[in-house]
């Protein structure tokens, strides 16, 4: 494989001019931090931060078969019961129940939907949608709108207020996991009350032409620019899984602890396998742990030990500013996954004591 040149989002020049440290991520040149991961995470927990998430895949699914196509590929109920303006989180599974991606589906109209996929999986998800459109749902039109629409996540306790000031957002009218079609700076824009930080907030999807002006207006209004580093720490504290780390095609939603996002009684791709996993239980399950002391942080691929025996692998790990200790996720035998169970993690040859804890690590007070 040759190294393809990195793609850039429409906000790339803004990141560079703000002095962001840029790193390659999912084929894009993306900001990993501006002021620093801890300062950015603190801004999101206490005030507001903004993240450029334009690298994620945004696909319009329209037409008479749009609903049925999404209902088939997605584990949440995208059926008749899903009202206009609603957003639903769920998984896309292969025929064996393995997780292809996690994605939010937004219902914009009777036959108009948007699905947002992880950047690393965007091409795969689009091809997956095309395949089922061709095989079973010919009256669904698929449009990749990733480059014509930007995406800015505005997150934190002050996020909806700032969205109101800058984008006319009404938090009373648009409740969590809802979406509204509006106009911002004269351009058609979606504002969804969704996010990936554990805080209240919105994800704004403006036409790319106004994205830079909107970004500057949001920073001028007090939202701190935040990079992928803070995003990863915040999502881990909120126990929001990262596809490619905490779940992949070898794992089903039950093992990943995502059963609540699966409507088991429905017929969706992979349903049979997922139902079997739910009925029979799975030998391993994703669990969260925290270390007894700050110490060196467990990271992805470190081994999890119980009484010296290797029982599993860390999938995500980081220092948690909220808990001021290290936290992580990993797959464990189900019987060892109860909160309170002691484990240790092999961090570069040192056994670091830790304890299984209930998820999430962080839950905001309402």
């Amino acid at each position: 494989m040759t190294d393809a040149p990195l793609r850039t989002t429409v906000l790339h020049d803004d990141h560079v001019s703000l002095g962001a440290r840029m790193v390659p991520f999912a084929g894009y040149d993306m900001p990993v931090q501006y002021a620093g991961v801890l300062a950015e995470a603190r801004a999101v927990r206490t005030a507001a931060g903004i993240f450029d998430v334009s690298h994620m895949g945004r696909f319009a699914v329209d037409g008479g078969d749009a609903r049925a196509l999404l209902d088939w590929v997605h584990t949440a109920d995208i059926g008749e019961a899903m009202p206009m303006g609603r957003a639903r989180y769920g998984l896309l599974c292969n025929e064996s129940g393995g997780i292809l991606d996690d994605a939010i589906v937004y219902r914009l109209g009777e036959e108009r939907f948007m699905i947002v996929a992880n950047a690393a999986n965007a091409a795969k998800v689009f091809a997956w949608l095309e395949r089922w459109r061709n095989e079973r749902f010919p009256n669904a039109a698929l449009t990749d709108r990733t480059s014509e629409i930007a995406m800015i996540a505005l997150q934190g306790p002050e996020a909806t207020y700032i969205a109101g000031q800058i984008a006319g957002f009404d938090p009373e009218a648009v409740r969590p996991f809802n979406v509204v079609e509006t106009e911002v700076m004269g351009a058609p824009t979606l504002i969804a009350r969704t996010g990936y930080t554990g805080e209240d907030g919105v994800e704004i999807m403006p036409a790319s032409a106004v994205a830079s002006s909107l970004w500057r207006a949001l920073t001028d209004a007090g939202a701190a620019p935040c990079g992928l580093g803070a995003r990863d720490t915040l999502r881990l504290e909120a126990a929001l899984l990262l596809h490619g780390s905490d779940m992949d095609e070898t794992v089903n939603p039950i093992e990943a602890g995502l059963g609540r996002f699966v409507r088991l009684e429905r017929d969706f791709c992979g349903a049979e396998a997922v139902r079997a996993a739910a009925e029979n239980g799975t030998p391993r399950v994703l669990a969260g742990f925290r270390t007894a002391e700050r110490g060196p942080a467990p990271r992805a691929h470190h081994r999890i030990l119980i009484n010296e025996a290797d029982v599993g692998e860390v999938t995500s790990g980081s220092y948690s500013p909220y808990l001021d200790t290290n936290i992580g996720l990993g797959y464990l035998p189900r019987e060892a996954s109860e909160p309170g169970s002691p484990i240790s993690v092999d961090v570069r040859g040192r056994q670091i004591p830790a304890q299984i804890v209930a998820l999430p690590f962080y839950k905001r007070s309402r």
Partner: protein, 126 residues
């Protein structure tokens, strides 16, 4: 932050400051702490341990990455900065002063001559 003129520098971004009592204070540079980002954990040798020039003496971990620490001089560790172990953010806030890492009794003080001076280190990081 200017590169202090009073000490020498390794290519691995540690500094070494000779003190009046003949010991050498060791730390990481402002450039290094900036590259690392927020430091959350520091692993250092213990008093009495031996360190060797250009050999690993510990590690420093930021929120997102782990980096090795290399000793700029050879000798015996005379003291360790307990403050930085308890409050790793000192490395970010005061890398040249409060964030010092260890104090070394050098085998050969002339070893410092093999390190970069402030001008050469500044050139390395530009």
């Amino acid at each position: 932050m200017p590169v202090p003129e009073d000490r020498r520098y390794s290519r691995e971004h540690e500094w070494a400051l000779p003190e009046p009592d003949g010991l050498i204070l060791v730390g990481i540079t402002d450039f290094a702490q900036h590259e690392l980002g927020d430091v959350v954990y520091v692993d250092l040798p213990r008093p009495g341990d031996r360190v060797t020039q250009n050999a690993q003496m510990g590690e420093v971990e930021s929120v997102k990455a782990v980096s090795e620490l290399f000793s700029p001089v050879s000798g015996e560790v005379a003291a360790v900065n307990e403050d930085v172990k308890n409050a790793p953010e000192l490395l970010n806030e005061s890398p040249h002063e409060k964030g010092w890492l260890i104090r070394v009794k050098p085998d050969d003080p002339a070893e410092l001559d093999s390190l970069l001076d402030a001008a050469a280190y500044t050139a390395l990081t530009e």
